[in-house]
């Protein structure tokens, strides 16, 4: 089995109202060092081993997990360790 960690973020050109609100709150808490906040999504997939896992994940992200009009995605494929 593979564990796929998918990270979805808003594109640079897209304003993130949630991130802006969180940044404002951090500034109110006196964390002035914070210069920007962008909020994204983290999704884990458990997938069967196959030669084309990366290809499948690309398709899954393009079709459903991310909206590529406003979002970028990247992912990491890890060997699932059974305990």
């Amino acid at each position: 089995m593979k564990k796929v960690k998918v990270f979805i973020t808003l594109k640079e050109s897209v304003l993130d109202p949630q991130g802006q609100a969180v940044m404002q709150s951090l500034h109110n808490m006196d964390y002035k060092a914070v210069k920007d906040v962008r909020i994204g999504k983290y999704i884990e997939l458990q997938m069967e081993d196959s030669a084309d896992v990366a290809e499948q994940v690309d398709t899954i992200c393009d079709q459903l997990l991310a909206n590529t009009v406003i979002e970028n995605y990247r992912y990491e494929v890890e060997e699932e360790v059974h305990s």
């Binding site: 050109s13 897209v14 304003l15 109202p17 949630q18 609100a21 079709q63 459903l64 997990l65 909206n67 009009v69 406003i70």
Partner: protein, 230 residues
């Protein structure tokens, strides 16, 4: 005119849409469950507002892959009128029938109020009964109605008169170019955040929305009459 109102798990404006057509227009209308696969026999398709699939992942993202969607896309390609309101608009964007995407409202609030809309293009089958630039009163009710598209898409929408409605006065959600509703290139698929079905009777505070449904009906009558005589 026989109309289908698509019902997803989480749709909540389906009954308003149904009554706007049945009582407002006096026309035949059916609810069509999302798991159906055919829309044959329907002349117009309505995708109502609500929170299909709980807005999980993104608004409209999961509904876009429902069993009925290939039939909606087929109807759109055949030139039948397809109207998506609120969550219906979000589903049309996710399905790629209209360009762009929705972001959370600029001030993050869910906004439920009646707003002023300007009719920017009255030369569509959805807006013939409005005057060009007329300001109408239609309610909005959404948390993610902040329409976004890239510069190139915006230019294309503007140049081809595809922005049908804009917010007049204050923009409630931060949408690009004050966009409240857009139409596809062929002119038969309209997506809008405001709810014309909630303004289809004077008892509801406004009947400005009814003319949108009447426009669709008139266009359908004219096109079927033309088909008979040609």
């Amino acid at each position: 005119m026989k109309t289908a109102v698509i019902v997803f798990p989480g749709s909540n404006c389906d009954q308003d849409m149904y009554y706007a057509i049945k009582d407002g227009l006096g026309e035949e209308v059916d609810y069509v469950w999302h798991a159906e696969t055919s829309l044959d026999g329907y002349d117009a398709i309505m995708i109502p507002g609500g929170f299909s699939y709980g807005d999980y992942l993104r608004s409209g993202a999961i509904a876009r892959f429902a069993g009925i969607m290939p039939a909606v896309i087929k109807a759109a390609k055949e030139g039948k009128p397809v109207l998506g309101v609120c969550n219906g608009f979000q589903i049309l964007l996710e399905a790629g029938l209209l360009p762009g995407a929705m972001l959370k409202n600029k001030h993050l609030k869910f906004i439920c109020e009646t707003v002023n809309l300007q009719v920017k293009n009255n030369d569509t089958q959805f807006t013939k009964l409005y005057n060009q630039d007329e300001v109408i009163r239609i309610p909005i009710a959404h948390g993610e109605g902040n329409y976004f598209c890239d510069d190139e898409t915006l230019k294309e929408l503007q140049e081809n008169n595809r922005i049908v409605f804009t917010y007049s006065g204050e923009n409630p959600n931060g949408s690009r170019a004050d966009i409240a509703g857009i139409i596809n290139e062929a002119g038969n698929v309209l997506g809008m955040m405001p709810h014309p079905e909630r303004a289809a009777d004077a008892l509801l505070g406004s009947d400005d929305g009814l003319r949108l449904f009447r426009s669709i009906l008139n266009h359908w009558r004219e096109s079927t009459h033309a088909a008979y005589t040609s």
